[in-house]
Each structure stands twice: as C-alpha cells, then as structure tokens.
C-alpha cells in the first residue's frame, strides 16, 4: 500500500458524508414500508416525505415534483423513454423526436439509440472545442419541427463544461419542446434552481454528492406529461414502482442538506486548487493540453492530456503512488474506444487517449494538490521515455 491515499475521482463517485453515515445508521432501525397504513408504515412515510421536501427545496422545486429513482441512469432513461410511449393515453400529444448532444453520458446516448428502434427520431448536437453546444444549431433542429424533447446535460462529467441551460430551455420552449437536463454532475457543485434553469425535467444522483449509491431523484415539472418507466405499484404517486428505498432516500436528503451548507465555500476552495493544478502542471510538464472550458466549468474538475502518454498508464502509475484519477477515455469501463466527449470537442484520438480527469471533492486538501504536482511530472516523463509517440514540442505543442 502506498503511504498516502488521495482520491481525485469524485466525478466517478464520492465517499459518504459523515452526517450521511450517521443518518443511515439511525435510519437502519426504521423498517416500515411507506405504503403500509400501520404505525411502522406511517413512520417510514413521514420520513420519505420529509426527505422529498428537503431535496425539492434545494433545487427550488415543489415536493410534488420530485420522484425518487434508483440512480441517475434510471432518471435519464425515464425521461427519454417517455417519448417512445406507445400510447397517447399516458402521454398525450407526444412528439417522438429528441434533440440531444454528442457529449451526453452513455445512459442518455445508449437509450437514445434504443429509442430509434421504437420509432423515435434522435439528433445529436455538436460541441465546440470547449465542449459547448451552439444555440444556432439547436434552433435549426427545432425549426425542422416536431421536436418533443431537448435533452442537454448541465455539466459534463469528463471535462466539466457547463452549458447555458436557461438559454437552451427558452429556445426549446419557444418551439414547443420540453426541456430535460442531466444535472448529475452539476447538482451540489454549482447552484441548480429548476425555475432559473426553466427545465421540465432534471436528473440527479445521490452518490455524486456524498450520498448513497443506488438512489437518485428526478424533477418533473407540475403538469408535464409523464408515464412511469418502472411500472407497477402506486409508489411515488404512481410515477415509479418499487418499495421505496427509505435508507437511500433519507441518506440522499441528508447529503443534500450538507451540500446546502458546504457547497459555496467548497467551490471557491476547489476552484483555487484547480488553478494551482493547472499552473503547476503547465510549469512542470511539457506540452500538457487542458480539455474543457477554462472557466464555464464545474470547479472541482480538471481534464488534461499528455501527448505521448497513454491515459491508462498514467492512471495506473498514479494508482501505485496512491492517487486515484480516471482516464477521460472509457478504457476504465472496459472499452478501448477513446472518449466520445473529447473526440466531440475535435481533438484527435491520441490526445483523447492520453487524457486524465482529476476530480476533487470536499476532503481535498492543498497537500493533496501539492503531492499530485510532485508525483505527476515524473510519471509523465517516465511514460514518455517509453513511448513511440512523443516528440517534445511536437505537433501538439502548437495547438496548446
């Protein structure tokens, strides 16, 4: 075991907040089914509804607009699948046409691909070099008529780039489309208010905000057509079947409460660390290329490519030094394709393959950042010395 263990992979998942742990331990004693009428059930119901209220409040929503889900992926699947609902009974006036982007999370992209087999038309917006979509292109798609849903993620998980959701919502609504944003990476890192954003649907996930894994929430604006994805019971007002995950729900609400307290100061601090990292890396490593938007970005995330060094090697050498990061590429998830997000920003496959994502969190210290800056240059140098692909100041240097 390395002497230090530093976790720079908070966009993948986060440790439980100490207050969440406490809440979970307390909640373990409560076991009623919120749907039961007896005392055990009523206690569970009261706690679930209290949690719903707290989650809703932090995003400016009404509690009736919150549906608890089993994950961010489920939330996104739920929204997209609405547009393939086979019956006009449950989703009247549904227009089976979706516009989304090339840089969405796989749970949006793969669901979209499946929906095509179910008669839904899907278009993918391009992004610029910073990962931002173009409102002009969106408007063109919207003009072609019949778009039922625009789904654009609020902040990208790999490069951190934040989209202008209020403007996108306004445009979508102007053309009669509904608006969804996957806010899994934005929620709890930057302010998220459903009314300021103007969205009809918004997805969040517990484990990205120091809450439990396996719990999420979906915001559904009052009056928006809806059809359950997991069908069955009357749980969640008939919007999501399955006995409520009371432990997860109470843990999520506590995580949200803590975000409310900690988010602003933490963002400030992490933004400072990120600039330390950016400057330190630039100063100590040749030809480092930063990916994503330099400022319109969630404060904890820094994505950087090192031409000539393959991402997975960097990840594993860092791991040996006790530092956990992820590769921008999907290698980590078992595929060898370079990151679809980086490719969409127009970088070449080599740069995409040679990237790592550093994602900090609430426990990140200045010492962690300094240790990273001490360790990383040696690792990159070592890999590049082994590499067939690195020529110092080579073609990449020019586009830095």
């Amino acid at each position: 075991m390395p002497s230090r263990q530093i976790y720079f992979d908070n966009n993948a998942t986060t440790p439980l907040h100490p207050e969440v742990k406490k809440e979970l331990v307390a909640a373990m004693e409560m076991y009623g089914n919120p749907s039961s009428m007896h005392a055990f059930g009523r206690e569970a119901r009261a706690n679930v509804e209290d949690a719903r209220h707290r989650v809703a409040a932090f995003m400016g929503a009404d509690e009736s607009e919150i549906v608890f889900t089993g994950s961010g992926s489920e939330g996104n699947n739920t929204v997209l699948s609405l547009f393939a609902c086979g019956t006009s009974q449950c989703f009247p006036g549904m227009k089976p046409k979706i516009v989304t982007t090339k840089i969405e999370h796989p749970c949006v992209l793969e669901t979209s691909q499946c929906l095509v087999h179910r008669g839904v038309d899907v278009s993918y917006l391009d992004v610029d070099a910073y990962g931002k979509i173009d409102l002009g292109q969106l408007e063109e798609y919207l003009k072609s008529d019949g778009v039922g849903l625009v789904s654009v993620m609020m902040a990208n998980n790999e490069i951190g780039t934040i989209q202008d959701i209020p403007a996108i919502s306004a445009l979508a609504h102007q053309y009669g489309a509904l608006m969804h944003t996957d806010a899994v990476q934005a929620f709890g890192k930057i302010p998220v208010d459903v009314n300021e954003l103007g969205v009809d649907f918004l997805t969040i996930s517990g484990h990205k905000i120091y809450g439990p894994k396996g719990i999420g929430a979906l915001y559904v604006r009052k009056g928006t057509p809806y059809c359950p994805f997991i069908r069955g019971g009357h749980q969640e007002r008939g919007r999501r079947a399955g006995t409520e995950n009371t432990l997860g729900i109470m843990g999520l609400a506590m995580a949200v409460d803590m975000r409310k307290i900690e988010m602003a100061a933490e963002a400030e601090r992490l933004r400072g660390f990120r600039e330390m990292l950016r400057e330190g890396i630039s100063a100590r490593i040749d030809d480092a290329l930063f990916n994503g938007h330099p400022t319109d970005s969630i404060p904890n995330t820094l994505n950087v490519s090192f031409p000539g060094a393959e991402g997975e090697s960097i990840l594993l050498y860092l791991d040996l030094a006790g530092i956990a990061v992820s590769t921008g590429s999907a290698c980590a998830s078992g595929s060898l394709d370079p990151s679809h997000v980086l490719l969409a920003t127009g970088v070449d496959a080599e740069r995409a393959h040679g990237s790592i994502r550093i994602s900090m969190g609430r426990s990140t210290t200045v010492e962690d950042v300094e240790y990273m800056l001490d360790v990383l240059p040696g690792i990159i140098e070592r890999i590049r010395n082994m590499s067939t692909a690195y020529i110092k100041g080579g073609p990449h240097a020019a586009i830095r």
Binding site: A26, S35, S36, R42, N47, D50, H234, R237, G238, T243
Partner: protein
C-alpha cells in the same frame, strides 16, 4: 430522522374511531322514524342511518347508524350522528361532507369519499321520513351515483406491498 409513527389521522378522528358514538345495537330499526341505506358491499362501503324525529319541531332527537366501512367512514358517521341531534330536518339535510371533514379536523385526500357515505345515508333517512309521513313532495333527490365512487378515488399515495 423523524420519530413519527403516531396516528396518521387527526386526534378527533382517532377518538371517534376508538369510541364510535350512537352505533345501533342489533338490527332492529322499527323504533325509528326514518331509515336510509347507501353504498354496497361490492365497493367495500355500506352505510345505514336511522333517525327519530320530533314531529312538532321537525328536530332530530336521535340518530343511530351502522356501517361496513373503513376508519374514516366510522369516524365521520360517528361525528355526524352527534352533529345532527337537535337540528331540524332541513338543517341536517344540508350538512355537507366538507363540514363533517372539518369537524374531524380534516381527512386525507384519498379518504374524503368515505365521509360522503354517512351524509348520503342521512339524507336517505330524512327522505324516508318524509315519505312515511305523507310529505313525498318534500323528498329531495340525493344526487344519483352514475359511477361507482370507488373509481374516482385518487389512489396514488399508498400502495400494497
């Protein structure tokens, strides 16, 4: 974490559910001046209300009832039977389910319909009194139940498991 687990309904409702007032003992209603029956067992709710009336003043002097129904039906009819004593037939006829629910301190949304039944049975009993006493002209139609009440219930909140 909330330490709830207390009764979901209001104290008042709980009180009337625990000790319902004016339940008819036995099945004999021959001593009463008007009897009304509403609902059916298919829907899981049935209500019978029997009243005694002072002919002179047309005031209700006694009101007893029986029900096949849930806690809300029991409690709301219990409280209704207290409310109508001393009222004239016209006053009693015009009590709305809302007033009964209010008297109970409120009812959950999906239980409002349960309180309607007692009310309807009371009106049927009053109409029965009019018919028995040759005042058929005073019979007021109880709003016809075209569809079974059960179908209109908002059934989200809670679910069987």
């Amino acid at each position: 974490m909330l330490q709830s687990g207390e009764w979901a309904y209001t104290e008042k409702l709980k009180e009337h559910f625990e000790s319902p007032k004016n339940v008819l003992q036995g099945n004999d209603t021959s001593a009463f001046d008007g009897v009304g029956m509403e609902g059916n067992l298919q829907c899981g709710d049935q209500m019978m209300v029997a009243i005694k009336v002072d002919k002179e003043s047309e005031k209700i002097t006694d009101c007893q009832w029986k029900t096949y129904g849930c806690a809300s039906a029991i409690a709301s009819t219990s409280i209704l039977s207290e409310m109508v004593k001393g009222m004239t037939l016209d006053q009693a006829f015009n009590i709305s389910p809302k007033e009964v629910a209010k008297e109970l301190g409120g009812l959950p949304e999906n239980k409002i319909h349960c309180s309607v039944l007692g009310d309807k049975a009371l009106r049927a009993a009053i109409n029965d009194y009019f018919i028995r006493n040759g005042m058929s002209d005073r019979v007021q139609k109880v709003q016809a139940r075209t569809v079974c009440q059960c179908m209109n219930v908002t059934d989200h909140d809670i679910e069987e498991a």
